[in-house]
């Protein structure tokens, strides 16, 4: 379905629903998700730098530096394309990872290993594993797409002084590591402020807080500080984002196998 159509339906639903209690919690949750998605449409492409700081219970820390290029892809079945380039640790410098995110099927992914000088396609249905040994799973980092979850609106709540919708998400992907997620979305800008992740046995696994939101191109909000706490392992991972740039003119040729080798 056309995203504009989707968006307008979403808006229409939302407007209509303003005073209608008859709307079910599922419908309201979906409408909020769609509105959040609609507001983030049209950024085309972007680049950013990410610093990842891993800490364990004893306070030992470890850092990884990564650059990410992303391209928006329209359509219901596909998520965005992204190219991830590892700058540190130095043993993996130059390693590049290309991913075509999919909604309910496994992503397409390729990895370029400079030490082997070859591109390898990775065939795996696993989106639930940790990203570079961190507390973020692949599925936590990939782009948000409405079709990835089904929804349920829970309640309105104050969070850090802002009015938020509290929405429950149920993953549609069979191999997801989660039973459900709960997100706090601010009612003004539809930004996710906090997400709780519940594991397959429905026990609270992780909490992610999004801080330091900045707006780009007068429309797109990006968090620059994402703090993940794993309640079971008591490890944490902080993602510090910088250098966001939008509409830098990345085309499809920047996101194919050949681009992987060139990408350092």
């Amino acid at each position: 379905m056309n995203k504009f159509l989707l968006a307008s339906i979403a808006t229409a639903t939302l407007v209509l629903s303003a005073n209608i209690d008859a709307q079910t919690a599922q419908e309201k949750g979906l409408a909020i998700a769609k509105e959040a998605d609609r507001r983030d449409l049209g950024w085309q492409d972007s680049t950013a730098d990410m610093l990842m700081v891993l800490s364990n219970k004893q306070g030992e820390t470890s850092e990884r530096k990564i650059r990410i290029k992303s391209k928006e892809v329209a359509g219901e079945d596909n998520g965005d394309k992204s190219l991830t380039i590892f700058d540190s640790p130095k043993d993996v410098k130059g390693t590049a990872f290309l991913s075509y995110s999919r909604i309910i099927t496994p992503d397409d992914q390729w990895l370029y290993l400079p030490a082997l000088k070859r591109v390898k396609r990775i065939s795996s249905s696993n989106k639930s594993g940790p990203f570079m040994g961190s507390e973020f799973a692949f599925e936590d980092l990939s782009s948000f797409e409405v079709g990835k979850y089904s929804y349920k609106y829970l309640r309105d709540e104050e969070f850090n002084g802002e009015s938020t919708f509290v929405i429950e998400y149920y993953p549609n992907y069979k191999h997801s590591g989660y039973k459900r997620l709960i997100s706090w979305i601010d009612q003004k800008e539809y930004r996710v402020l906090k997400t709780e992740f519940y594991d397959r046995k429905n026990q609270l696994l992780k909490t992610l807080e999004y801080q330091d939101y900045q707006q780009y191109l007068d429309q797109y909000w990006r968090s620059h500080k994402m703090l993940m706490v794993n309640h079971q392992s008591e490890k944490t991972t902080d993602l510090i984002w910088s250098n966001y740039q939008f509409k830098v003119g990345l085309d499809d040729s920047s996101f194919n196998r050949n681009s992987l080798k060139r990408s350092r």
Partner: protein
């Protein structure tokens, strides 16, 4: 002194009764707070070196306990059939619902990697969406039985059994966490067997071990304590021949136990298998107190004295000896605080509280009850002729032979003492009636071991686990360890590395070797990590900084000695061939392996202190340094002889036996006290000759000593019915020591006295006669 106290006790009996009931009630309320601990780690003190090493290792990698399900098709087919594979898939999926689970491993979700041209395919080896055709089953079989990470861990080399390992991380916030996991797992097993009746299912792992500890405690409480009550009832019935007296004794014993266990609850002490034998021991000790009071009371009462006078007389005679023997018993049990094993501190302290309570109740509650209740008076003219005379005559007639005979007996027994070998194999703590023991034995025979040594080998700076020199060292270490006959399995990530190298070279078998460059190895690792699902990551093998790796060596059933030998062998290899890489080694097996020795050393200190204290007490009580010295022989020799006999017949010494010497010292000393004090009274008050004094002592306390010894031996023998070997060993050993003590008091002590006194006769009599000799001090 005793007479005045006895007077007061009788005058204020009603008040004492009320105070007693109120304080029992208050203390007893604490029993509602009693709980059972569910963690094998309680056997180790906070400062225990091996425990700390293991905790730090677990913090670096992953702190975890586990449940290991092992399944075997009943028809003796291998596990590579559609039915059995579906069962493994089902269990693997369902096990994710286990409370606190962080990881589930089996051949079905094993992350199999293979190459297809330039594709690296990472997938469950036998995922549930896979159609199980004969050819795919054959493929699963060939991969499983060829994968070093799986064989001897999750599948047996012939494929006749397979396992699903569930890793849980208990938050340690509530006491019932372990039970929740065990309960869930037991239900899962039941469901599995209903769905797939063609399978046998076994369960082991640390969660089950913890559960077995708890079950053992509760089972002991449920079976041993009632059995003990039965023994006591019978003994008392025969001994006292009075319903009222038996009833009053039971009440007084119950009061002692309730008080001790209640205070335990108030103090927040959690019960463990060792400390759960406290009620049995208190019961035994309390009976001895009651017997003394009641036997004397009934004796006088049946001779025609009125109830009050009879009781007053009994209290006058018994107050001090019961007090003294209670004090020595308390000292004996308190020596358990010197142990390295905290549950034994608890056992010692709970029993010490119980013995103290038993003393107080036996001179307050017990007389008050007897006086309040009707007691039938059966007039008896005099004591029957004393069978003890025969023993006395025999001992006196065979002085020399007995002295030499007993000495030789003691020396021969003690000669076998070095045969005893320290051994704390925790699987063998449980006897064959315990499911955990049977299941674990099955797993040990058919699949893998539970005794592990975990090495953390450190590569140096961040990321250096990929250093080829380090990888080579770890691989060499692995191969060396695997070649040892006592090693079943070595879990190492170098196997994964070699496999990835092969995958990255189009599955060319000649590339099944470690990558030769650091960058390449690091990039393989990254690639592999990126393709693993939730819960199957490498955090349990490589630390956050990628600067160290954990290698888990699984050994066969090893004794403590063999475990330490293996630790030393592997450690020495790393020191010599380890290229300077540092390492730590730790594991539960090592914790248990090292505690035996440390425990014995500290218990020796505790026992020595008890010996000094008790000997001092005896010297004061007997008012004679010499008698204090003579008493050392019957007090010390029994433990030595008992350990010698143990060396002949059993020769395996677990951590609980180290307690026996100190603890029995406090008990066997009673016999010596009673015998020597009667002997001294005869010598001093009545001016009898040595032989006559020995006859007097036999005639007056011989029967009482035999009966109390019988009660004690019966009590501790009942402990041998415990399914928990630490308790049953302790019971047997204590019963043995107490029996030997009586034999020595009867056969060796008189011979010693005669030999000793003949030499010293003159000076002794002259110095003694002048003293104020209220020998009734000790009965």
């Amino acid at each position: 002194m005793s007479a005045i106290l006895a007077n007061y006790i009788i005058r204020f009996r009603w008040l004492l009764l009320v105070i007693g009931i109120v304080s029992i009630g208050l203390a007893g309320l604490g029993a509602t707070k009693l709980g059972f601990t569910t963690d094998y780690r309680v056997f180790f003190d906070k400062g225990n070196e091996q425990l700390e090493a293991y905790e730090s290792l677990q913090n670096t990698y992953e702190k975890s306990d586990n449940v290991l399900f092992v399944i075997k098709p009943k028809n003796d087919q291998d596990v590579f059939t559609e039915d059995t594979l579906r069962a493994i898939q089902w269990l693997t999926t369902e096990a994710w619902q286990t409370p606190f689970s962080t990881r589930v491993d089996s051949i079905s979700n094993y992350q199999h990697t293979r190459a297809e041209e330039d594709d690296l395919i990472v997938a469950d080896l036998a995922g549930d969406e896979l159609a199980l055709t004969p050819s795919s089953i054959e493929y699963i079989k060939s991969v499983s039985l060829d994968e070093p990470l799986l064989v001897h861990r999750l599948v047996s080399p012939t494929g006749h059994v397979a396992a699903v390992n569930v890793t849980v991380k208990l938050p340690g916030k509530a006491l019932d966490e372990n039970s929740k996991v065990a309960q869930f797992s037991a239900n899962l097993k039941q469901e599995l067997q209903q769905k797939y009746p063609h399978l046998e299912v076994y369960m082991t792992g640390f969660v089950m071990l913890n559960q077995a500890f708890q079950d053992a405690s509760q089972k002991d409480m449920g079976t041993i304590v009632p059995l003990m009550f039965l023994v006591v009832l019978v003994t008392l019935g025969i001994l006292l021949r009075s319903i009222t007296a038996t009833f009053a004794t039971l009440v007084m014993i119950l009061a002692s136990i309730i008080t001790a266990m209640g205070l335990t609850g108030w103090l927040g002490i959690k019960l463990t298998p060792p400390s759960s034998s406290a009620p049995t021991i208190i019961l035994t000790m309390a009976v001895a107190d009651a017997v003394h009071v009641l036997v004397t009371f009934l004796q006088h009462y049946h001779r025609g004295m009125n109830k009050f006078d009879a009781m007053q007389e009994s209290l006058r005679i018994n107050l001090q000896p019961i007090f003294l023997t209670s004090v020595t018993t308390v000292i004996g049990f308190l020596t358990m605080n010197f142990s390295e094993v905290p549950p034994f501190h608890d056992l010692g302290n709970i029993v010490a509280i119980g013995v103290t309570a038993a003393f107080i109740f036996s001179v307050t509650l017990l007389p008050a009850l007897i006086l309040a209740l009707p007691v039938k008076q059966k007039l008896i003219v005099a004591d029957k002729s004393n069978s003890m005379d025969a023993i006395a005559n025999f001992v006196i007639g065979n002085r020399k032979k007995l002295l030499w005979g007993m000495t030789i007996f003691a020396i021969v027994s003690v000669a076998f003492l070095p045969r005893n070998e320290l051994n704390d194999e925790w699987v063998q703590y449980f006897d064959e009636s315990v499911d955990f023991r049977n299941d674990t034995d099955f797993v040990l025979e058919n699949l893998t071991g539970l005794y592990t040594l975990e090495f953390s080998i450190k590569a140096g700076e961040e990321g250096s686990v990929s250093d080829p020199k380090f990888l080579k060292t770890v691989e060499d270490f692995t191969q060396m360890a695997e070649a040892l006959p006592e090693v079943i399995h070595v879990n190492t990530f170098t196997d994964t590395m070699s496999r990835l190298n092969k995958n990255m070279h189009s599955d060319d078998a000649s590339f099944y070797r470690l990558p030769q460059e650091r960058e390449l190895a690091a990039q393989y690792l990254l690639l592999y990590e990126m393709s693993l699902p939730y819960g199957l990551d490498l955090n349990n093998q490589i630390n956050v900084k990628k600067s160290a790796t954990r290698v888990i060596v699984t050994a066969k059933n090893l004794s403590t000695k063999e475990t330490i030998a293996l630790e030393n062998k592997l450690g020495a290899w790393l020191v010599i061939n380890g290229q300077g890489f540092e390492f730590d080694v730790a594991s539960p097996s090592l914790m248990f392996a090292h505690i035996g020795e440390r425990n014995i050393v500290s218990m020796l200190g505790g026992t020595a202190i008890a010996l000094v204290l008790i000997s001092l007490l005896l010297t004061v009580a007997l008012r004679s340094k010499r008698m204090g010295l003579v008493s050392l022989v019957p007090n010390l020799v029994p433990a030595f002889v008992a350990f010698g006999i143990w060396g002949i017949f059993v020769a395996q010494v677990g951590m609980s036996l180290a307690m026996v010497a100190g603890m029995t010292l406090g008990i066997v000393v009673d016999d010596t006290v009673h015998f020597l004090s009667k002997y001294l009274r005869a010598r001093e008050e009545k001016g009898l000759s040595v032989e006559a004094a020995i006859r007097y002592a036999f005639a007056n306390v011989g029967r009482a000593l035999v009966t109390t010894t019988l009660v004690l031996v019966a009590g501790f023998s009942v402990m041998s019915f415990s399914t928990f070997s630490l308790n049953s060993d302790m019971g047997v050993m204590t019963a043995l020591t107490i029996s030997i003590a009586l034999i020595i008091d009867f056969l060796l002590l008189p011979a010693l006295l005669m030999t000793y006194e003949k030499e010293k006769q003159d000076e002794q009599v002259s110095t003694r006669i002048n003293r104020d000799s209220d020998a009734s001090l000790v009965g």
